[in-house]
């Protein structure tokens, strides 16, 4: 499936991108594997994952064209 990935905050800086498009993704763990492979630095950062602007924990079921979002701890205000 095709998955759109967004990086916010410091992670956009670390990955030098805010947006990536991945094709032929088999599952969430497949996606995570490919992202960590491409951006090994991100393991040094805290982040949470949202799918289609909904926070997820564990190992969510992904659908074609889902948006997977990497979010460092919020710092609004």
């Amino acid at each position: 499936m095709e998955i759109r990935v967004l990086f916010f905050g410091v992670l956009a800086e670390v990955t030098h991108t805010m947006f990536k498009h991945y094709r032929d993704i088999a599952s969430y763990s497949d996606l995570m594997f490919r992202i960590r492979d491409e951006f090994p630095e991100i393991i040094h950062y805290n982040y949470r994952i949202a799918v289609n602007s909904e926070m997820v924990n564990e190992d969510p079921e992904l659908k074609n064209f889902d948006e997977v979002v990497f979010m460092p701890p919020f710092a609004g205000g």
Partner: protein, 148 residues
């Protein structure tokens, strides 16, 4: 009251914008109190460098949704609240400029004041917004914590 609405404001929240919201909030004669919080960028000194601005980024779709969740949580806890508006800056806000406005109107003062204070805390904890401090020499540092 609209529950889901865009609360993101490109650049600083201006005095004109704040005055506009103040002017419309008072129309309702059964309101007894309005509590307003205005957050401003401080020219803190970090190490030897002075903060000249904060640059905010946000995840807009989720910010809209979370703002709606915050409103619903507030209305449930504070049923006397009749109106709640939030504006949060994105992009660069210079020291001395406003990056956050929260405006709560209620029938009586206690719920207006408590609901406004709680909304500010929920914004800090739940809104998908990130910030980096920009220093005089144009270097920057991401803010990872939420100091009070």
């Amino acid at each position: 009251m609209k529950i889901e609405e865009n609360i993101l404001n490109e650049g600083p929240v201006t005095q004109e914008t704040i005055s506009y919201w103040l002017s419309i909030m008072g129309k309702n004669k059964n309101l007894g109190g309005h509590s307003i919080f205005i957050g401003q960028v401080r020219d803190d000194v970090k190490g030897l460098k002075k903060v000249i601005a904060i640059e905010y980024s946000a995840y807009p779709e989720m910010a809209k949704k979370e703002a709606g969740n915050i409103k619903q949580e507030i209305l449930k806890e504070f049923p006397d609240v009749k109106d709640l508006h939030i504006l949060h800056s994105t992009g660069r806000v210079m020291a001395g400029e406003v990056s956050l406005m929260v405006l709560v109107s209620a029938g009586h003062r206690h719920q207006a004041i408590d609901a406004c204070a709680k909304t500010v805390e929920l914004i800090k904890g739940k809104l998908p917004v990130w910030k980096k401090e920009i220093f005089e020499d144009n270097s920057h540092e991401w803010v990872h914590e939420n100091p009070a």
